[in-house]
Subunit: 401 residues, 2 copies
């Protein structure tokens, strides 16, 4: 099964937007065992779009067209696909209602332009997921298929995950199940991980039961992806579980989470299971920590609050570690939480190597702090500081059981 | 003059790396007036690479191949281009020496693998810039040309800027200059903007002095891009300035910035020029506002701080607008700033439509608040609230002169 991706939009060719959609789609296709041998970007030009989609359809079984479904005159993906399907357009009244409802829910009247978005090729089916005003489409062409999805990443992703990936797998008739599991690590470089896992990598090269791949994810650490293929869900899950256990033995607490877990989701889970609350003093991290925690805990049931200010009240009177500990204690006191954490930089008069950051934890029976040296320019260093601080808390909570 | 970009590498199709090179190249080509009508990604497969490059050469005057010039067996761009040129390969001893020198400069011995990088098609010329071990190539094919550059971004950029852009301009014989300017708007949808600008869009369709394009940027609003082409830098700048003035007349203060400006950079500039400082109470926005402001003001000289907490102290005792105003005042008092701002949601017992948010500003002589209704699920709505609040402050500061 081959599926080609066509990203549509002159702004992509002009470099005004980087096409991250094709990469994401390519990754998802690979995970379910579908080949994506070509990915093409083309501008908002009817003839070139038609040529490109026809060419893609010639050499592949399916084509995903991404973009050009908006309400303006240069959004012509619908019309081009209709031409390739050799059909007329029809206005879909269900879609008209959905779009009208979206505007009305925001207290606005639907502009007439948006009606264009409800005009779809006869024979095409709208995709059920429709988070924005652009409907996705499944457009059969003989025994092949063209999918149309919006260029807005979260809208495209909902449609891929909700409809298209399953439809492609059904069409491919594939019986082999391919699954992967990501072990998320933090604190070791790629070459250190590769050395630790070298023997296991060699064994897998021979056994061919699973493959391991490393994927650097910037400040979020390095992902170790296990991929396995088997005849059934149960069999593939068994392989993944056995491999995960082996790798956990080798890597230990460098692994902080699995798959979609993040450093903050893991820490929030630890706190939740212990019935504990958290507050932070952000004298270096400028709200990044609060933003990340409240994204997962929007009612702030666990992460009660943060003080974002350039300087801590003890500013420069104490050594860094002590100031960080005092700031963590102050955050805990101000918000009345079980745990307080803090990150701060050396004061202007202190002499530390560049990248030095002090991190601290205050909780019942524990008051600890340390310095870490973090790489990168200021912005990146602040993000590293957030992860370092959360990782420090993660290990502390884990060791206290 | 048409130049197509072919990005080579299976890892691009699998989404392990996002292809940012094509976007950057597309942008550079546009700036010198060369059309890039297609950009294709293809894996490290000789037949598919050959098909793709031949197809590109059929429909364009030049092709830039990016990637596949490394020392390993799957780096086959050189061989594929030789086949298309219908020539043999030769070993370039100058390149061998350069690569050997690079290794020796790092105290290492050149592995034999790297000799492959010195094998180039007969008739191809190495590109003078060679920051890594992969030489770039200029490969004439009849009256057309294939350029080969490495996939490593900084190496590719040096070769583009040092050789390829000039070579393309020389080949095209073109003298026209193309420039664009982005007007950043917030608060209106794409179709509303299109309706307001409909008459001007029609005029431009006829006059062809410039083009306008809309670009939705999620919570960051909608970009209106003016693109103009003229015989000189001065002439193109004149067209852009005239067009910007016209559009400003039509759209008014919906435009918050130009080009790389963001809502927070604009607000920080307004405050800086007035010598004012800012603090925030984030009872809804969970640190997003602080994170965005401190990213641009890391020493917090203007944005002094933020209180991130789920509930404001006045929680539910006053109506929403009054609570927001009190929170803005409290932030201003706590951090001793000239301006305080706040965003909060209705209390649990208050009855407002979904998406209702209260925003407030407290400053010398001004204490104002209002409610807004924002779309989206909680996470997205919080980000909208941040921009709404900053936009409220932007307009308030502008109106106070």
């Amino acid at each position: 099964m081959r599926c080609e991706v066509v990203a549509i939009g002159t702004e992509l060719l002009l470099g005004q937007i980087v096409d991250t959609n094709s990469s994401w789609i390519g990754e998802q296709l690979a995970l379910v065992g579908i080949d994506s041998l070509y990915q093409v970007k083309v501008g908002d030009n009817a003839q070139r779009m038609e040529d490109t989609i026809r060419h893609a359809l010639d050499r592949s079984d399916a084509v995903i067209c991404c973009g050009g479904l908006g309400p303006t005159q240069d959004d012509i993906t619908r019309e081009v696909i209709a031409k390739i399907m050799n059909v007329q357009m029809r206005r879909d009244e269900d879609i008209v209602l959905k779009i009208r409802d979206m505007f009305e829910a925001r207290g606005r009247v639907m502009p007439d332009n948006n009606l264009r978005q409800a005009d779809i090729p006869i024979g095409a089916s709208p995709i059920a997921q429709m988070p924005g005003t652009a409907p996705g489409l499944v457009c059969p062409v003989g025994d092949k298929v063209i999918y149309a999805v919006p260029g807005v990443p979260f809208e495209m992703r909902e449609m891929m995950e909700g409809t298209i990936l399953a439809d492609l797998q059904r069409r491919s008739g594939a019986t082999a199940v391919i699954r992967s599991r990501v072990m998320r690590t933090w604190g070791h470089g790629e070459s250190a991980l590769a050395e630790t896992l070298a023997h296991r990598l060699e064994e897998l090269d021979e056994a061919e039961t699973a493959t391991l791949a490393f994927q650097a994810s910037g400040i979020e650490g390095i992902k170790v992806r296990i991929t396995a293929k088997a005849e059934s869900d149960a069999a593939v899950e068994d392989i993944l579980a056995a491999e995960e256990a082996l790798i956990r033995d080798l890597l230990g607490d460098v692994i902080f989470g699995i798959d979609e877990e993040t450093m903050e989701s893991v820490v929030l889970d630890q706190l939740r299971s212990r019935g504990m609350t958290l507050a932070a003093a952000e004298h270096l991290t400028g709200g990044i920590l609060a933003m990340r925690m409240t994204a997962l805990d929007p009612d702030q049931e666990i992460f009660r609050g943060s003080i974002v200010a350039a300087h801590d009240p003890e500013n420069q009177k104490l050594p860094g570690e002590k100031r960080a500990a005092a700031a963590a204690q102050a955050a805990r006191a101000q918000f009345g939480t079980d745990v307080g954490i803090a990150a701060l930089a050396p004061g202007d008069t202190e002499d530390y190597p560049p990248g030095t950051v002090f991190i601290a934890i205050s909780m019942q029976g524990t008051r600890k702090s340390r310095s870490v040296t973090l790489p990168g320019a200021r912005g990146r260093m602040r993000s590293y500081a957030v992860i370092s601080l959360l990782d420090y808390l993660r290990k502390t909570l884990a060791s206290e059981g």
